[in-house]
Point group: C2
Chain length 138, copies 2
DNA sequence: CGATTAATGCACTTCCATTGCATTGATGTC
DNA sequence: GACATCAATGCAATGGAAGTGCATTAATCG
């Protein structure tokens, strides 16, 4: 049994062929991907299956969505420690305005945010737009 | 001539009836609004006109879009100092998970963010999700 | 006023999310 | 292994919102 299969089972998700493929694709790519990008990776893939695969992954703490402000959500593997109960992705997300790639900067945690009295925080989302390393050399 | 008309002219935008209405609606409401929400405010309004009105406002530094992670962009009036050249909205945005309203917290500027070497920042987007004052009493 | 340019309204297209339903595949029981 | 059961998949269809082309109307200027 592959490492991925073991991981999925540990997350209580049945390791079907498509799920393994999707997981591997995300693991191999450092950047987050949209559903359409994922779809393009496979010759014969049904959009709906992909959609539901991602939903399942999201529900079980395997991937988290990233809303980088460009309309279409992207998805990346979660950090360790995520589970069905609560995602644990309080890191910074960087979106490159040139190559359009969005990446998790897991080492860069989100700073403490002060809110006006009466407001309570449940989740924080920090997106930085700019130029990534690869594109900065231009 | 109304204050709104004067303001729009100063921004180099011709103050048509619809533009004045849209501006007033946004000014009267503390929360940001989607196009559909705006559309619902008017009996007879064409979605395209609204769409282009907002695009124009965006272009001339009158409104800024807020991507609160719920798929559909919302719009709010800019702070003073925005113009065609560059928006100037480096404040925090708060989205209430209960009433679903999104507001600008213009007093809460976005903190300095450190990035890995090689990355350059052009824009930062900080969204806090939680419960707003109104909803916190429940 | 007549000419010119901007704004509007309507029709249409496209993209993506989402759902219903029939079909296929896996799992566990006898 | 055959069968019952439940999960996953594939296909078709729906729906919401963004975006565009073009004809019409409104504003502006000489
Ligand atoms: Mn991430
Ligand atoms: Mn704002
Ligand atoms: Zn880049
Ligand atoms: Zn609220």
């Amino acid at each position: 049994m592959s490492e991925i299969e073991i991981f999925l089972i540990a997350k209580k998700v049945r390791p079907t062929a498509m799920r393994i493929l999707v997981f591997r694709s995300l693991a191999n790519k450092r950047a987050a991907m949209t559903l359409s990008e994922l779809e393009a990776l496979f010759e014969k893939s049904d959009r709906t299956t992909l959609y539901r695969t991602i939903k399942t992954f999201e529900e079980y703490g395997i991937v988290h969505p990233i809303h980088d402000g460009n309309g279409i959500p992207k998805y990346a593997l979660c950090e360790e420690g995520c589970d069905c109960a609560a995602h644990n992705d309080l890191h910074l997300h960087f979106h490159c305005n040139q190559c359009e790639e969005t990446v998790c900067l897991t080492d860069h945690k989100i700073p403490q945010i002060n809110l006006p009295r009466g407001y309570t925080t449940e989740d924080v989302n920090l997106i930085v737009n700019g130029k990534c390393v690869k594109c900065s050399s231009d």
